[in-house]
């Protein structure tokens, strides 16, 4: 536990002493802010129309029209940003040779992985935390439901955890940060889009593809529904990639 906290503190420092964390968080917020603004404008436009046309009134819902697309958009932006956040985690240490020294200290591999993971997660949590200003604005202006908002954030956090572990695996495989980022991005995009072909794929294969899709499993969170199958998907994805990362670090035993 002590080793974990030492590593965690060191990693957090290196994120926040350098501009890395600020740039990532800032870019994330600017794009999210833009999407929020667009959805808000669209919502107020629809509200005005509904004032004249009563048949539209039932479809004007803050949660459905602003928050649900906002959560989807945030998850999509994470797809781009997480690879940039995780690419340095092991690649940089491998290139500098500091990993060799780090592993010569009395630490377990899993402590190293979890310390670095937690620090990256904190960066994303800070970013997601600041976006809570959007629902707060909505609470001031209108009456959105709290349940779906909490649910959406839960989905985003689960997804961040899984994405970071995917990124860590690729970072542990190479000492080149660009390769790590590209491979992570490719893998995440594939996990995102794999469900799109499920409608056309026959039988079991179609079901399998739909179940593997990170997007499908997120969309119910964005709607405000917590399914155990979605929860287990993200937890399993995280554990699987954690396991692979641990194996990849151990591979030095036979790779040298």
């Amino acid at each position: 536990m002590k080793n974990f906290s030492a590593l965690f503190k060191k990693e957090i420092k290196s994120y926040f002493v350098s501009p890395i964390a600020y740039v990532l968080i800032c870019v994330f917020l600017v794009i999210c802010g833009y999407f929020f603004y667009r959805d808000l404008l669209y919502f107020s436009f629809l509200s005005l129309q509904a004032g004249y046309d009563s048949s539209l009134q039932s479809s004007v819902n803050i949660n459905e029209l602003i928050l649900r697309p906002l959560f989807s958009n945030m998850s999509f932006i994470l797809l781009f940003l997480v690879p940039l956040l995780t690419m340095r985690i092991f690649s940089e240490e491998k290139k500098l040779g500091t990993l060799e020294l780090l592993l010569s200290y009395p630490v377990r591999d899993v402590e190293v992985i979890m310390g670095k993971f937690a620090a990256s997660l904190v960066v994303l949590l800070v970013a997601l935390g600041i976006t809570s200003i959007f629902p707060i604005i909505l609470f001031i202006l209108g009456e959105p439901e709290a349940g779906p908002i909490i649910c959406g954030y839960l989905g985003l956090i689960l997804m961040s955890v899984a994405f970071i572990f995917v990124g860590m695996l690729f970072s542990s495989l190479t000492e080149n940060q660009i390769i790590a980022a590209t491979a992570t991005f490719g893998a995440l995009l594939l996990f995102w889009a794999i469900g799109w072909s499920s409608a056309f794929a026959p039988g079991v294969l179609g079901k399998l593809l739909a179940q593997l899709s990170a997007f499908n499993h997120f969309s119910s969170f964005a709607r405000g529904v917590i399914n155990t199958s979605d929860l287990t998907f993200y937890i399993n994805l995280s554990l699987f990639f954690l396991f692979l990362t641990a194996k990849s670090l151990q591979a030095r035993a036979w790779k040298g």
């Binding site: 080793n3 030492a6 350098s18 500098l96 500091t98 060799e100 009395p106 035993a253």
Partner: protein, 319 residues
């Protein structure tokens, strides 16, 4: 303190080291000597539990590196060859991180860090960013992190590479100062470094141990004959002829001319016989002038070249 038996490491089909065995007593400073890619770093990495050996045993203080890596790592201070440090941290925050990860208690942390900073002479750069430090200072920070938590064993991989002569000298002084207090293994391919800092040398070439002994013994063992350096005033031919007549002399070679009638000579005598007295009295009795006389010993450099080339010859014979 350190016991290595039949250690073998293959990287896929490539041989790192093969059948390396040696022991290091507590408080001893041992030099691993060898050309590049001889297997020095591989040996050290196995000792620091980075990866297990393919075959063989390695123990530190009776603990196997394969079975008890965490305990072994607690006993070892390691400085890898390239001095890898986190370049974006300040010296004191870096040492703070290492102290924590090495499990130093919070209340002792400041004092211990201060101690190693003093030992390594880096107090004046404590708030500087490591990336901005010179190579010499980085090397000292590297040594400081290895010394934190007072490990009984120090493993230093080519610690003086890239230092200027003054820094090298200071670094060696630092290591000599720790003699007896810590068990030190250091690798190098700089020969004078070994004779200056180490009590014992292990010479590795192509993954195998070629020789191990004290620098002095190695030199004398490998010497096939004793050599004596002489400066004699007298006629060259007469001196050469006269001295080669003494019993036990294998050869004499006149060297540079020093003054009008004075020459240098190198005399080879049979091993284990000391003929200095006989030569001296012969020269004096013949009426020549004996200006200088001293035994020539083989330096480590000669030993090293000898061993490495002997290997080659043996290999060629095998083929």
């Amino acid at each position: 303190m350190i016991k290595v038996e039949g250690l073998t490491k293959y990287y896929g089909p490539v041989r790192g080291i093969e059948d390396v065995s040696f022991t290091v007593k507590e408080g001893e400073t041992v030099g691993l000597l060898g050309p590049n890619a001889a297997g020095k770093t591989t040996t050290m990495r196995i000792l620091t539990c980075l990866f297990p050996p393919t075959r063989g045993k390695a123990e530190v203080a009776g603990l196997s590196v394969v079975e008890k890596p965490l305990q072994v790592k607690k006993l070892i201070g390691y400085l890898p060859e390239t001095t890898p440090l986190y370049l974006d941290m300040t010296v004191s925050s870096y040492l703070g991180f290492v102290a924590e990860i090495k499990g130093i208690r919070y209340k002792n942390k400041k004092e211990k860090i201060k101690q190693v900073m003093q030992t390594c002479g880096i107090e004046n750069v404590r708030e500087r960013i490591i990336g901005k430090l010179s190579k010499g200072y980085r090397q000292r920070v590297g040594l400081a992190q290895a010394l934190l938590n007072n490990p009984p064993v120090l493993i230093l991989d080519e610690p003086t590479i890239g230092l200027d002569p003054k820094q090298t000298f200071e670094f060696r002084q630092l290591i000599r100062g720790m003699r007896g207090k810590r068990t030190i293994i250091l690798s190098t391919h700089i020969l004078p470094e070994v004779s200056m800092t180490c009590q014992r040398v292990i010479i590795i070439n192509k993954g195998k141990i070629v020789a191990q002994d004290t620098p002095y013994n190695l030199a004398s063992q490998l010497q096939k004959s004793n050599r004596i350096y002489l400066q004699i005033e007298g006629h060259v031919d007469e001196v050469t002829k006269g001295i080669s007549g003494i019993q036990g002399i294998m050869g004499i070679k006149p060297g540079k001319r020093i003054a009008q009638n004075t020459f240098e000579y190198i005399v080879e005598t049979e091993k284990n016989i000391n003929l200095t007295k006989e030569i001296a009295s012969f020269v004096v009795n013949s009426g020549w002038g004996l200006l200088e006389m001293r035994p020539l010993s083989m330096g480590l450099e000669d030993v090293f070249v000898n061993l490495v080339t002997e290997e080659k010859v043996a290999e060629e014979k095998e083929k």
